[in-house]
């Protein structure tokens, strides 16, 4: 690899990549993803625009009816005026007859429903929901909660338990985490957990947005017969590494933009949120440096593999199919990060954080959650660098031979021969 020859290739790659596609991939796609999550959130929490009529039928239990009325008066959702509530008191053997008489009405209007609270609910808390729209989670959740609360209050009242005791019982325990480290003990923060997930996502996005397009570029240049011209001026490794380094620069710039945006939003939340402690992010310079180096090494490994292996193909369909295993190599390790949340210090997590490929995701996530002995990230980095060296060795040999080869796609045996002989 000759430095003065490779620079024009790097410059060209960076210039070409910092175009419209970069803007779309860096700004537009994350915005769309955020919008999709946001829309989903809004839809899930959106209040029903249709008016609902709920009839609460109780098996001769005026006390519980009173408690339900009391709870409903305090419920926020009743203030919207979208819910009409009727009450009926029936003898236990009359409900089926009552239901039969109301069935035509229920069938006519999906927004009508009946909630039946039998006498047995006082002990087993089983109540019935009857509607043509039985999957109406909005009514089920809201009124289910109200009935449950009324049954609880009724139970406590019958057993002479005071309101103050009820309030205590109904309050869940809140664990305040305190991270013990060599530098002292600090209250737990949600920041590192979020950072762990974000880093895994960023690496995945960085590779997806850069390695696969690089594959298309290599295949396209081969199909366009560009290499014969380039190879009179450049060595194959100059072209290969020019592309890889140029793309890695763009990918790193992309990552820094995403991180800067993320940090900006965290800063805003930190400034205006009462729970600023929860989003605190206090990382050592070594950890931040490791994140950056790990990202660059991860990107380089995948770019090298994608560029080298895709040079065997002169159509994008064949290249995409053949390189699918690489995509799994990218995707599967990312999911191992989620298994860490239960216990980032267990043996499996420690092994995954050192194993090549999985370590690209798991080690940064572990480092953001617990204090990891320094030798572990250094070992993980050394192993990933060894993988990068090997990927470069194989890819360079394949690239050197295959960029000018046309015709049938090479067999595994041919690939092995290329690596062995060239």
């Amino acid at each position: 690899m000759s430095s003065n020859r490779i620079i024009p290739v790097i410059k060209r790659e960076v210039r070409v990549k910092l175009g419209l596609r970069f803007i779309v991939a860096t700004i537009f796609i994350p915005m769309v993803m955020a919008a999709i999550v946001g829309i989903q959130f809004v839809l899930t929490n959106m209040k029903s625009q249709d008016k609902a009529e709920v009839t609460l039928v109780l098996e001769q239990n005026p006390a519980v009816e009173g408690l339900i009325k009391q709870s409903l008066e305090q419920a926020d959702f009743m203030k919207s005026g979208l819910y009409t509530v009727n009450y009926e008191q029936l003898a236990g053997d009359k409900f089926q007859e009552y239901l039969n008489s109301k069935t035509p009405e229920l069938l006519k209007d999906d927004n009508k429903s009946i909630i039946y609270v039998p006498a047995s609910a006082l002990t087993d808390k089983k109540i019935g929901f009857y509607s043509a729209n039985v999957a109406n989670a909005d009514v089920r959740t809201k009124f289910g909660g109200i009935v449950s609360k009324a049954l609880n209050l009724n139970y406590f009242a019958q057993n002479n338990i005071q309101n103050v005791d009820i309030g205590y019982i109904q309050t869940d325990i809140f664990i305040i985490g305190n991270k013990v480290s060599a530098s002292g003990t600090r209250t737990e923060s949600w920041g590192p957990i979020i950072i762990g997930g974000v880093l895994a996502l960023l690496l995945n996005l960085g590779i997806t947005f850069n390695a696969m397009p690089l594959m298309n570029v290599v295949v396209g240049e081969k199909a366009n017969r560009l290499y014969e011209v380039l190879l009179t001026s450049l060595r194959p490794t100059d072209i290969l590494w020019g592309k890889i380094i140029g793309t890695a620069i763009v990918a790193t710039l992309q990552m820094l933009i995403w991180v800067a945006t993320f940090v900006f939003f965290v800063f805003i939340m930190d400034t205006f949120s009462e729970q600023s402690v929860a989003f605190r992010m206090d990382f050592q310079p070594f950890v931040i440096g490791y994140y950056l180096v790990n990202y660059v090494v991860g990107i380089l490994i995948f770019l090298t593999l994608y560029a080298g292996l895709s040079s065997m193909y002169d159509n994008q369909g064949a290249a995409s199919t053949a390189l699918t295993p690489l995509y799994f190599l990218l995707l599967l390790p990312m999911y191992t990060v989620f298994s860490l949340v239960s216990n980032p210090a267990n043996t499996v997590a420690a092994i995954l954080s050192i194993t090549p490929f999985t370590s690209l995701y798991v080690m940064p996530a572990r480092m953001s959650l617990i204090d990891v002995p320094v030798w572990q990230p250094l070992l993980a980095l050394a192993l990933n660098l060894a993988v990068l060296y090997f990927a470069n060795y194989v890819s360079s040999k394949i690239y050197r031979v295959s960029v000018l080869a046309t015709g049938n796609n090479p067999s595994l045996r041919q690939i092995f021969t290329w690596v062995k002989n060239h």
Partner: protein
């Protein structure tokens, strides 16, 4: 005087001998034609010269020594299979090609503009290459080949797909390169053009060099005691003439080899005696095209040709 020397070059692809012991030398101020049939080994030879392929054996010397690290800056290569960055502009393509040859964009831009003007592409400077016609793309690639002022210019089929006006333009530029004391290696199947602009020619056939000399010497050698004839009438009697050593058919033309120059006059008299209507009778002159065909045709192709002529003659007689 600069010189490119190719010595005993060999290259195998699997069991196939692509290039088999080829040697020649090309000098500055001359246009050297490397010709041969498709698959003869020309492109493999060129790829070894340009350092794309490593020869199995043999050596390539430039200016009397091995090609150094700066060799890539001194060579310009227009491959037969054209290829540039389709979505980059014409100017960006040219500047990039010059930059990988070590010329910075500030230096190459004015020169690129001059060439673009000469090749009538001034209005296409900022166009993406993909928006240009195939001929114009070829012009851009040709400019990219010579923009860095190389000492050795290798052009593989530069005229294919060009209209006659652009063909003349390319010819003019090639002759200017010769004038500028460059080594020009031209690989082409257009023998009429090669005949006009080349000084020296090497003919490669099935990986071997079967001819290597100056164009004038080749023509002299193969045209001596040779008659190119275009005529109407039954020429079957030629086979019975003891001083006629060979008759070859090239479409409407026939070449007739006689034993001695003095036999040419006898042949003319014999043709007139058999009432042959002579349209053209050229003595001691044979085109490079005919020389190329006569040297590279296989026995099978000659047999098929003879069979086809026999069939036509039979049909005519019927």
């Amino acid at each position: 005087m600069r010189k490119l020397e190719v010595k005993n070059l060999k290259k195998m692809f699997g069991e196939t001998k692509a290039v088999d012991d080829i040697s020649f030398s090309a000098q500055s101020g001359k246009v050297f034609a490397l010709v041969g049939r498709n698959g003869a080994g020309k492109t493999t030879t060129i790829r070894m010269i340009t350092d794309i392929y490593v020869p199995d054996s043999g050596e390539i010397l430039f200016d009397g020594g091995k090609r150094g690290d700066d060799f890539h800056k001194r060579v310009g290569y227009l491959p037969e299979e054209r290829g540039l960055y389709k979505f980059m502009s014409v100017m960006d393509n040219l500047l990039f090609l010059a930059e990988i040859k070590g010329i910075n964009p500030a230096t190459s831009r004015p020169k690129a503009l001059q060439y673009l003007k000469r090749f009538d592409l001034t209005d296409k400077v900022d166009f993406p290459l993909d928006a240009l016609s195939k001929g114009n793309q070829q012009k851009v690639q040709f400019i990219g080949t010579i923009l860095h002022d190389p000492d050795l210019v290798i052009l593989d089929e530069p005229f294919s797909g060009l209209d006659p006006v652009n063909t003349n333009l390319f010819k003019d530029v090639i002759l200017e390169l010769r004038q500028a004391n460059k080594i020009v290696i031209l690989s082409t199947h257009q023998m009429d053009i090669a005949e006009k602009i080349c000084d020296q020619m090497a003919l490669v056939n099935r990986g071997k060099l079967i001819l290597n000399s100056t164009v004038s010497e080749i023509k002299q050698r193969y045209s001596a005691s040779m008659v190119t004839l275009r005529a109407e009438g039954d020429l079957a009697f030629l086979d019975s003439l003891d001083y006629v050593t060979a008759v070859e058919h090239f479409g409407v033309n026939k070449t007739i080899q006689v034993k001695h120059d003095t036999d040419i006059q006898r042949l003319l008299q014999e043709l007139l005696r058999h009432n042959i209507i002579i349209k053209q009778f050229v003595a001691n002159e044979m085109s490079l095209h005919d020389i190329f065909v006569s040297l590279t045709r296989t026995k099978e192709e000659m047999a098929l040709d003879a069979e086809a002529r026999l069939k036509v003659a039979t049909e005519d007689a019927a």
